[in-house]
Amino acid sequence: MNGLYLHVPFCEKKCTYCDFYSIESTGLIDRFVQTLCKEIEIRCASLTVPRTENTNGIPSQIGKTLVPFHANTIFFGGGTPSLLSGTQLEKIISTLKDHVDIDPNAEWTMECNPGTISEKSLSDYRAAGINRVSFGIQSFAQPELDFLTRIHSIQEALDAIPTARAAGFTNINADLMFALPPQTVASLEHSLQTLIDLQPDHISAYSLVYEPGTPLHAQLGKGLVVPHNEEFDAEMYHIVMHTLQQAGYEQYEVSNFARPGKQCAHNLMYWHGHDYLAFGPSAHGLVNTERYWNHRSLSTWQAKVDAGELPQANTENLSHNEQAIEYAFLHVRSDGLPFSTFQQRFGLDLQTMLQPHLQHWIDADFVTINNGVLRLTFEGYRVCDEISLKIIQSITK
């Protein structure tokens, strides 16, 4: 289970809370698509492993075949990938298919802004091979959308999912946000119910994060925005988890909920520590134990690719210990940490090492342990990072 991530760094208008790399110069998209396709070629060439084939006992250069990277999930993120035209998307997808061994049943996700789609564009995406769309709906309350500086209206938010269904999509995600300063319990419940009524297959519900470097963070610093207190944030989180569970969505990560069988394969691929190639400015990839990240600026990224180089800004090679830490905290925050697999991979008997904590956690209903898998409960997700920290402490002791 490996993945591909493609970052489309364009937005009609940047949202004040967003810390992903994105610019508003949408006129550069065509050029970007060309460069992205070239990056795919360069990256894949750097990765494929030559295998010498022996013809009649004579090693032959010509006889070398390349084993391409195999992928089961592809994710177009951004930015606003739905600013791509059907033609641009087709070009990217055909380049991918030329250089990557893509599973015929792969999950192809595309993030879409409810304000930049039409039934036509969605049909084009569907025709190009996209089989999962993810809408950044965030809220059904106008003051909250205004606060987030989203470009879409409530009506567009309401229309997005039915439009996608009409265009043939059967796997649809919607993002929702909570702990927004203008939000009340009532408005959160309204947004949740409205969304549930639209029957998306998957819901990502995020607590607002004040990311350093964003305009929102600057407003916070100036006292122009007053965040909710921790208590209220926790209460809203509880409402989200509880309501979605009641509506038949299973939580499989801190912020992710799905109808049975509709979990996002791409998300799980990240959390289960599989390899993924990444393309586009600022994108992060992981191959074996090496993580790389591309230049963040579009022009630098473009210049590197134009020069025929990998446009990566840096890499880090994960030590055994770092791999163990990532494995542990990513599994804890998603669908559970299997102790025996952990022990096989990292040689550490975590269940024994965590002994001073485990019973306290179970007693407080933060975790359950079933079949040797430690999983967070509702109560546990709330303090996920505290628990992760204890586990990391045990690993690195």
Partner: protein, 599 residues
């Protein structure tokens, strides 16, 4: 022998003792000005230089050609400058025939100086008063007052006092001449049975213990078989010499001289300060008077921050005792801190020095508990127990009486602070024994105080409440019965032994409340609510609670976030290094010293 002079310098911290010593070395040519780059040569431990105090004793021999044309050998014996080390001071004084009393022209006499001075007078030393720092502009207004204080104190005449500035060199010749003229030469018979005093010993990793001695009678030579009378140890000497800037081998030392001996002695404990050295074959009739076993007065638990480092800590403490024989340590266990050591110190400063040395010189990461004194407990079965760890105190029902050590404290202060000091001492259950005016604006106050109340932060309080003007000296007086109880701290109902303390019953409620509030400040919020209780026996006297963390989780963690997220968690983990887990509560190490920071 007529040309030997053995003397020391009595001075308060910062009154210029070390600078004066340096100047004497320089003037006598023992050390050149060029070698003086790192000033204050006698304090060669970096910690000593930083704190401006002398912990270990040194001696140095100087050659001086006096105005009478004769060549003299001057032995300057350094004394430690802190209240914790008063026994060592008394021993080094007894190695001398005279002392320079150095008083800062702008500061006047301090408590420490007085107690050391009286000790010197008692031992019959010739006192040469020196008023130092006369070059300071402010000395003009204070010097007459200071002179009067000194005259009152030792009954000398104005012309007996030497006005000096060790910094600029004023009066240094005069001091050297006075040492030669006024301090009597040592007496003693080089042919008599050997009788020498150990006034200090240091550990050298290559030679073993180097013993510093003053020979009173007889002659000591290399290859001699000697005996330490009190420890009853016998050794054959390797090396005998005197201390110049380095050790100078002289092969023998005779009555009246000061020098060192080595003899493949492995343990500092075998060479106790104050012990007498004599020949095994021809021993002297009696030991030199005044020997005392130095006993620790303040105790504290020292634990490795990480329990895996217990053996490392044991080794570090072992090495530390090689050159500090006053530390005691015994293994102990605590439910909160695991395996560690109960350590005994001469006083609070000594404790701080040991802790710092463990961290700096031995790279130990340690958790220390609140210091306490040693209690004498009489049980209902008429047994006597000595308790130096509050959690070891028996149940109330088994105790018939608890006695605690009292000290006699001498505090010298400008008169304007009398009220403040009275209040402080009363709060600490002190009783005033007397007061005498040193001058119109300086007073010498004597209090009796429980040592247990002084080991907390008495000295710091005294200093801060008097803007640093008051000075303190103390001596252990006796044990007295007190209405004492053990106060336990419970976190979520579980007692944390390392936080137990022994307090006076009348102060227990107030104390418990303050301690709970302090712990609430120091213990970070955790996943669980934490109840903090202070109890005496089964009775809870104070309580506080720390609310639980309600939410701590980063919402997003996708491909580009993982590395950043991991680093964030690793950073948070590093910040939590010194937490100790008790039950499900994690306690930061500062919390174990919470008592020290209570107002």
């Amino acid at each position: 022998m007529q040309h030997f002079r053995n003397f020391c310098i009595i001075a308060h911290i910062d009154h210029g003792k070390s600078t004066l010593a340096d100047r004497l070395l320089e003037t006598t040519g023992t050390v050149t000005a060029r070698e003086m780059t790192n000033n204050q040569i006698l304090d060669d431990n970096p910690l000593e230089q930083e704190r401006g105090i002398t912990i270990k004793l040194h001696a140095i021999q100087m050659a001086y050609k006096a105005q009478d044309g004769e060549q003299y050998t001057l032995n300057l014996i350094d004394t430690p400058g802190h209240v914790d080390f008063s026994y060592e001071v008394s021993r080094s004084l007894s190695a001398c025939e005279g002392a320079l009393l150095v008083v800062d022209a702008t500061q006047g006499v301090e408590a420490q100086t007085i107690s050391n001075l009286f000790m010197a007078i008692e031992q019959g030393l010739e006192i040469i008063p020196v008023i130092n720092k006369i070059d300071l502009p402010s000395a003009v207004t204070t010097i007459d007052n200071v002179k009067r204080q000194v005259m009152d104190l030792i009954g000398c005449k104005e012309e007996d006092m030497i006005l000096a500035s060790a910094k600029t060199g004023i009066g240094i010749e005069e001091i050297l001449e006075a040492v030669v003229k006024k301090i009597p030469p040592p007496t003693g018979d080089p042919e008599a049975p050997l009788r020498a005093l150990i006034y200090d010993s240091i550990f050298d990793p290559y030679r073993g213990v180097i013993v510093n001695i003053r020979v009173f009678e007889g002659t000591i030579k290399e290859k001699d078989k000697i005996r330490f009378i009190n420890t009853e140890q016998e050794y054959e000497l390797d090396e005998v010499g005197v201390m110049g800037m380095q050790r100078v081998r002289t092969k023998s030392l005779s009555a009246g001289n000061v020098g060192y001996i080595t003899a493949a002695i492995r343990k500092l404990q075998d060479t106790k300060v104050g012990d007498t050295v004599t020949h095994a074959a021809r021993p002297c009739e009696r030991a030199i008077e005044g020997f005392r076993e130095v006993k620790p007065m303040v105790f504290s638990g020292i634990y490795p921050a990480d329990s895996d480092d217990f053996e490392d800590l044991r080794e570090a403490l072992g090495k530390l005792t090689l050159n500090d024989a006053a530390i005691t340590f015994e293994p102990e266990t605590s439910n909160a801190l695991g395996f560690g050591f109960r350590c005994g110190f001469l006083g609070l400063l000594h404790m701080e020095i040991v802790q710092e040395r463990l961290e700096r010189e031995f790279n130990q990461v340690i958790v220390t508990t609140v210091p306490n004194v040693r209690y004498k407990v009489l049980t209902t079965k008429d047994e006597v127990l000595w308790v130096d760890n509050p959690s070891q105190l028996p149940n109330l029902s088994a105790i018939s009486e608890i006695q605690e050590p009292f000290i006699k404290a001498q505090i010298i202060t400008p008169t304007e602070y009398i009220g403040t000091i009275m209040k402080l001492c009363m709060e600490r259950r002190g009783t005033m024994l007397g007061q005498s005016y040193l001058s119109a604006d300086r007073v010498d106050l004597t209090f009796e105080l429980p040592l247990g109340e002084v080991v907390f932060d008495f000295y710091d309080k005294l200093k801060s409440n008097t803007r640093g003007y008051a000075s303190l000296d103390y001596d252990l007086a006796d044990y007295q019965t007190g209405d004492l109880v053990r106060m336990d701290i419970l976190l979520n109902g579980e007692p944390v032994d390392a936080l137990s303390s022994i307090v006076h019953r009348q102060k227990a409620h107030d104390w418990g409340k303050k301690l709970c509030i302090k712990l609430k400040e120091l213990i970070p919020r955790q996943m669980f609510e934490i109840a903090i209780q202070a109890s005496i026996g089964a009775k809870v006297v104070a309580r506080e609670s720390i609310s639980a963390i309600r939410k701590n989780v980063i919402a997003k963690c996708y491909g580009g976030d993982i590395s950043r997220k991991r680093k964030l968690l690793e950073k948070q983990k590093a910040g939590k290094k010194r937490m100790k887990q008790v039950g499900r509560v994690e306690i930061p190490q500062e919390a174990f010293l919470a008592v020290l920071s209570i107002d």
